[in-house]
């Protein structure tokens, strides 16, 4: 296995959490947890790789209680597997990360992977508990198994997005949603940038409440997904602002969003996530001199394909910018998160308290900033 040009001298595939803990107790070198390997390019360049720990054999859904709207799964379970289990009861997890249904739930949490479907947030908002094993082999948990809980510190928030640099996630408890009464997607293509900017501004300040609202460029397409009571979906479709809308439903709708996902994969050569405000997305797209982009209109976030690290540096003067995808070469020159000094200091202390010797994914996160 090769990550960031480094070859793992050993790849281990523990079949149980106990085995994983035992492996870690014995391991003295650098360790990289991996799942479905869809996001290995994310983060600052890895500095050393003695041992890769593939968690895909931790692949059991340990409990699913439809009546409680909770599901508990080991880290190696893929999103697709979770979706299939939930589908049987017309339930789902409102997430459609770019790396697709083949990604493991542990990997999605570790990289805070996201997509277009964001009715009420990202994966962090659906996690209710987590089990981890720390680099020294000690197992611990945070949160619990119920949908509402304030017992103890919520360390799952820290593990989410830490790219496996604090601890290895072994099991996640999630709350899930009942299926929408109906979903439908409205798509339109605008003649130019200005009219698209105008349309999305109308949508975001109007009465519609799409669960996805994407402005895709340079084609200037606007994609709206609605999920609600069938009549509320109808009402929203009837009240779309004036444009030539095409309505997608059923398989056509699913295929449509799959094509948006593959559109994301084609962004580049450097993909950045620029964090602004809903009212500023048109400015962000313009400022980033984006070649192609997907903007989360309701959230004020733009995923922008830019040409060079110069663009990243320039954007960072005015915005918080995360590098979503870039070549190893580029990632060597510009940090993934662009942390502010105070955050940097706190995260570094966090890293040190979990992994004092810096053996878990060295260089990947704050220690590579």
């Amino acid at each position: 296995m090769t990550i960031d040009g480094l070859n793992a001298s050993r790849v281990l595939q523990p079949a149980s959490v106990e085995e994983l803990a035992q492996l870690l107790k014995e391991e003295k070198g650098s360790v990289s947890p991996v799942g479905a390997q869809t996001q290995l390019h994310f983060g600052n360049p890895l500095r050393s790789l003695d041992c890769a720990i593939d968690v895909t054999r931790l692949n059991r859904i340990t409990e699913y209680v439809p009546g409680d709207l909770t599901i508990h799964a080991q880290a190696g379970v893929t999103l697709g597997e979770l979706e299939r289990a939930l589908e049987a009861n017309n339930q789902f997890l409102p997430l459609d990360p770019w790396n697709g249904p083949g990604a493991t739930i542990g990997g999605i949490a570790a990289t805070n992977a996201q997509g277009s479907l964001r009715p009420t947030g990202t994966i962090r908002d659906w996690i209710i508990g987590m089990h981890v094993v720390e680099v020294n082999g000690n197992a611990s948990k945070t949160g619990g198994r119920v949908v509402k809980n304030v017992t103890g510190y919520d360390l799952a928030k820290l593990y989410t997005g830490s790219i496996g640099t604090l601890a290895i996630i072994t099991e996640i408890s999630l709350k899930v949603r009942s299926g929408y009464g109906r979903t439908a997607t409205a798509v339109t293509r605008l003649p130019d940038f200005a009219s698209a900017a105008n349309l999305v501004s109308l949508i975001r300040t109007g009465p519609l409440q799409p669960v996805s609202c994407e402005w895709i460029g340079p084609e200037n397409e606007v994609w709206l997904r609605f999920g609600e009571h069938p009549r509320a979906v109808d009402w929203q479709l009837k009240n779309l602002p004036g444009a030539d809308w095409k309505i997608l439903e059923g398989t056509e709708e699913a295929e449509g969003w799959a094509s948006v996902r593959s559109g994301y994969q084609k962004l580049g050569p450097i993909v950045v996530k620029v964090i602004g405000l809903p009212a500023t997305i048109a400015d962000i797209v313009a400022e980033s001199r984006s070649r192609a982009w997907i903007a989360h209109v309701m959230n004020g976030i733009v995923l922008s394909g830019v040409s060079s690290i110069e663009d990243v540096r320039r954007l960072r003067r005015t915005h918080r910018v995360i590098i979503e995808r870039a070549s190893l070469e580029d990632r060597r020159q510009v940090s993934t998160f662009g942390l502010e000094p105070a955050e940097h200091e706190l995260m570094l202390r966090m890293k040190r308290t979990f992994d004092p010797e810096g053996r878990l994914n060295p260089g990947r996160h704050v220690d590579g900033e």
Partner: protein, 490 residues
């Protein structure tokens, strides 16, 4: 407390009126709304701005004095209680709404702003702040952030954590930091998310950027009355199983109904009912009527003998007043009570309520149940008489037994009130030593010296019961406090 320190605090706060050290005046600050545990701080200082908070923290560090942030003092787990004495940093005067960005639906507020005041201030723009603890007319947004407060509508809209986008905070080092961003997007690790719900032990939050939501087009509120607890619980399960996402789904039992109906919070709950479900749905006008009808149908199928849909906003407000005043109304039926907070998987409701009933009979102490049924968040209220020593002796044991039942079915110790001082000795029921050790290490990242809000959340040698010598849980006192809360008279 040394006069030198009082002087320095006065200097920082700018006036003697911002510093309280008179023994009688300090009594107000010896507890929060969990009146069972008390300990007086040595001094209370009202901070006017972030800089003052930072300076007070630095002063406390220099002299190694423990300090505790405090908002409105409505907490129910003893979080704002100064276990080791020391300084209480009162944030109530930092109560300005700094900005409202209507277009981007966010607001920036100081920590002392009262929860409800935010929704009132942004109402003209058709917006509101979703988390609505029953104490919302008094509790501070800073206290909400610290406790990750919930409320009836968190069933659909999520807890405080889902609505906090960014904060400015004073770390225990005295350093002022900004975490998060107005888009609410995590960059790196979610430090902000870990501060929310840390019960005021990681940092003192001095400015908060919150998400505002557009008011739903329409709301429907209904109550359904049942002759049996099981029928009511089954209704809760069936509503969820039907794929409906209610805005709120509350359970009110017969004892609570009697108390509420005899009090100023009289809501018109059916007096003959063994249990009542208070259900609200909101969203687009289209489809809402059908959803409400579907719920009515589910209630009837489960033998509801009366189902009433609120005709107008007044009736709706009244139904909610009864629910929100429930804790305060208990004085009508009992001289003392212990408010509990625990969570169970909602499918276990009938089983757990039956077990609580058996425990109640065994101890000979009644339990009233009024709670957020939709997310399985129980609030058993143990009713007793503090003049009877035999009863007082048993309430803790009984409370512990109830918690064990909840944890035993896969539940947790607290859904919204926090662990604070109240439940720290019970943490071992849900967390192993290793779990807690990891949490304590994370606390040390933020709060290495441990002076910020010490002795909370985790078991310690000094238990809370040893501290509060003259304890009382009089429903009259709680009633007064709740009344003050609901009137927003803090």
């Amino acid at each position: 407390m040394q006069t030198e320190i009082i002087q320095q605090l006065t200097q920082i706060a700018g006036s003697a009126s911002s510093v309280v050290c008179d023994e009688t005046e300090l009594l107000v600050y010896e507890c929060d709304a969990l009146t069972l545990f008390r300990n007086k701080p040595d001094v209370v200082v009202f901070a006017a701005n972030t800089r003052q908070v930072a300076e007070i923290v630095k002063l406390a560090n220099t002299h190694r004095i423990p300090y505790v942030p405090r908002g409105s003092g409505t907490g129910l787990s003893g979080g704002a209680m100064a276990i080791q004495g020391g300084i209480v940093i009162e944030l109530q005067r930092m109560n300005r709404i700094l900005s409202v960005d209507v277009e981007n639906r966010i607001a920036v507020v100081q920590p002392g702003v009262v929860n409800l005041h935010i929704s009132q201030a942004v109402a003209p723009y058709g917006l509101y702040y979703a988390p609505d603890p029953s104490s919302q007319s008094a509790c501070s947004i800073g206290g909400n952030v610290a406790e990750n407060a919930g409320g009836p509508h968190c069933l659909k809209y999520g807890m405080t954590a889902n609505h906090i986008l960014a904060v400015e905070a004073v770390l225990p080092s005295g350093e002022i930091v900004r975490l998060g961003n107005p888009a609410g997007e995590t960059i790196g690790m979610d430090l902000l998310g870990s501060i929310v719900g840390s019960e005021g032990t990681f940092a003192i939050v001095t400015e908060i950027t919150i998400r505002l939501l557009p008011r739903p087009q329409a709301v429907k509120t209904l109550i359904a009355a049942f002759h049996s607890v099981d029928d009511c619980s089954q209704t809760v399960s069936d509503v969820i199983a039907a794929g409906i996402v209610p805005a709120a789904l509350e359970f009110v039992d017969d004892k609570t109904i009697r108390a509420v109906e005899a009090s100023v919070y009289r809501a018109g709950y059916p007096l003959g009912a063994v249990a009542v479900a208070l259900i609200e749905v909101d969203g687009f006008r289209e489809g809402l009527e059908e959803t409400a009808d579907q719920i009515v149908e589910i209630c009837r199928r489960n033998n509801a003998y009366e189902v009433r849909v609120a005709k107008d906003d007044d009736e709706r407000a009244k139904l909610w007043m009864g629910r929100k005043g429930a804790f305060g109304a208990m004085g009508r039926i009992s001289p003392d009570m212990l408010v509990m907070d625990a969570v169970i998987p909602r499918t276990k409701l009938p089983q757990v309520l039956a077990q609580i009933d058996r425990i109640s009979q065994r101890y000979g102490l009644p339990v009233a149940n009024v709670f957020h049924a939709g997310d399985g968040n129980l609030h058993p209220l143990i009713l007793f008489d503090s003049r009877r020593a035999d009863q007082v002796d048993r309430i803790f044991e009984m409370g512990e037994e109830i918690l064990k039942v909840c944890v035993g079915v896969g539940g947790s110790l607290s859904g919204e009130h926090g662990i604070g001082c109240e439940k720290k000795e019970y943490m071992g029921m849900v967390f192993s030593d290793a779990d807690m050790e990891t949490m304590l290490r994370v606390r040390a990242v933020f709060n290495p010296g441990g002076l910020l809000n010490p002795d909370k959340i985790f078991p310690s040698r000094r238990s809370c019961t040893e501290i509060g010598k003259q304890t009382t849980t009089s429903t009259e006192e709680i009633g007064k406090r709740v009344d003050a809360v609901l009137r927003g008279a803090h």
